[in-house]
């Protein structure tokens, strides 16, 4: 084995984009900024969408996905390739998302920006402004998307996490057990329970 650093190896191979996640993290651990940028490009879309599905809050999803990458950056030199990198990053992101949900639960009784809304109001999915008139199909589709988002938000966090990882993000059961540190039986049970709850709430659309 040569004494070249991972960074140098990646440069020599002229293939940051073709490097494995593991190689990239090792390079980041040695201060390779380009390798870190590549990791961010590979995963930012997945991570921000995953956190968004957990929180239904665009700004916090952005903030916490940046925090996820910050933690990858600062702990890259301690990274152990026990699991795949994707499992590792989803674990960090899910821990941050769950921590945020628990903090929200604790301060739920204080409503800052909407002090007069009813207790049964639920958070609305972020909608990007669109001035164009909405045809019926689009309206129905929008309504359906909102209903699905609201139904996901209504799930208890333990069901929400496993269900989002499986049915929205498409992770395998094995990956989910690694992300959540739960047994496969528990993961399957939680996904099933979450689906049953969703099925009841979304009966109109399925």
């Amino acid at each position: 084995m040569s004494s070249l650093s991972y960074s140098a190896q990646l440069d020599l191979a002229n293939g940051i984009s073709s490097a494995t996640d593991h190689e990239l993290v090792m390079a980041v651990g040695q201060g390779d900024e380009a390798a870190f940028q590549e990791i961010v490009h590979r995963y930012r879309n997945q991570i921000i969408n995953f956190i968004y599905r957990m929180l239904n809050d665009y700004d916090r999803a952005t903030d916490l996905s940046q925090e996820t990458f910050l933690r990858i950056y600062t702990s890259a030199n301690r990274y152990q390739a026990t699991y795949s990198f994707s499992t590792y990053i989803y674990r960090i992101a899910s821990n941050l998302a769950i921590s945020e949900l628990r903090q929200r639960k604790r301060r739920r009784w204080v409503s800052f920006f909407s002090p007069f809304r009813n207790d049964d109001d639920s958070d609305q999915e972020m909608e990007f402004p669109d001035e164009a008139p909405l045809p019926d199909e689009i309206m129905i589709d929008t309504e359906r998307r909102k209903a699905v988002a609201a139904a996901i938000q209504s799930l208890p966090e333990k069901y929400r996490l496993t269900l989002v990882l499986r049915d929205v993000e498409g992770l395998s059961y094995e990956e989910i057990t690694e992300v959540t540190n739960l047994s496969e039986g528990t993961v399957k049970s939680r996904i099933n329970r979450g689906r049953n709850l969703l099925r009841d709430k979304l009966q109109k659309y399925i």
Binding site: R44, V110, F112, D167, R199
Partner: protein, 252 residues
């Protein structure tokens, strides 16, 4: 070839539905499941609903990463790299000027303590916050709600250029309203207690630098150029019925 069959019994249905849930089956199992579902309306319905549910979930719109994602990430990384001036306590003890050091620490402690008790408690409601590194607090003329938006804030009293500002929070001891510009609100959610007038000095802004350091300033000390960030002509507080002793917070 191994053949497999699920009988039309509760046990058979349970096994089929479990297999459908995990979608973890080979060709042989798939044929057996299909065969069962063709004869069992209950499992057929289960299978169809599961497929539809998965389709609904997968078809949720994927959000876009904001354009400034990488820039803000870089700023956070830079902030996390700023050195923290922390020395082990035994180095302090070993100094010859121990007495002077302890005296200074005591004085600082007393000052910080006095300052702490002059600030609103941590339970005060938060009415505006932003992760933006550079922020300005503006008042929306339409709904009169104060928001924090990105802006090149040029003069933030006590700011430190070496530590980019990460968060600005406005903390108030209660509900704040300007009498000349009130927003209509349902009276049923407000108790009959008379508004308590609070002064501008009771509104504080907490500014967080990097990931750990923070400072709390009176709102009047936070300026944009030479102007105050926010003018509040008259303020009052009311308690919200739903939260009993905890006042709602909103700035108009």
């Amino acid at each position: 070839m191994i053949s497999k069959e699920f009988p039309l019994t509760p046990t058979g249905c349970r096994l089929v539905q479990e297999s459908l849930d995990t979608a973890d089956f080979n060709v042989v199992l798939q044929i057996a499941i299909l065969s069962h579902c063709q004869k069992c309306p209950s499992c057929q319905k289960y299978s169809q609903e599961l497929t539809n549910l998965r389709t609904l979930l997968v078809s949720q719109i994927r959000i876009q990463v904001p354009n400034d994602f990488d820039i803000k990430l870089r700023q956070k990384i830079a902030a996390s790299k700023s050195p923290k001036m922390v020395s082990p306590w035994w180095q302090w003890v070993s100094q010859p000027a121990l007495g002077a050091t302890l005296a200074a620490v005591t004085i600082v402690g007393v000052l910080v303590g006095v300052d702490y008790y002059r600030q609103p408690s941590s339970g005060m409601p938060l009415v505006a916050s932003s992760p933006n590194p550079n922020v300005n607090i503006i008042k929306n003329p339409v709904d009169n709600i104060v928001k924090v938006q990105p802006s090149p804030i040029s003069s933030l009293s006590g700011s430190d250029e070496n530590h980019p500002i990460e968060t600005v929070k406005v903390i108030t001891p209660g509900y704040i309203a300007s009498p000349g510009n009130r927003v209509r609100r349902p009276s049923r959610q407000i108790n009959s207690q008379a508004p308590r007038q609070i002064s501008l000095d009771e509104i504080n802004v907490e500014i967080q630098y990097g990931s750990s350091a923070s400072r709390t300033l009176p709102l009047s000390a936070v300026t944009y150029g030479s102007r105050p960030v926010l003018n509040v002509d008259n303020v009052s507080t009311r308690e919200n019925k739903n939260t009993s002793a905890i006042p709602e917070a909103r700035i108009f």
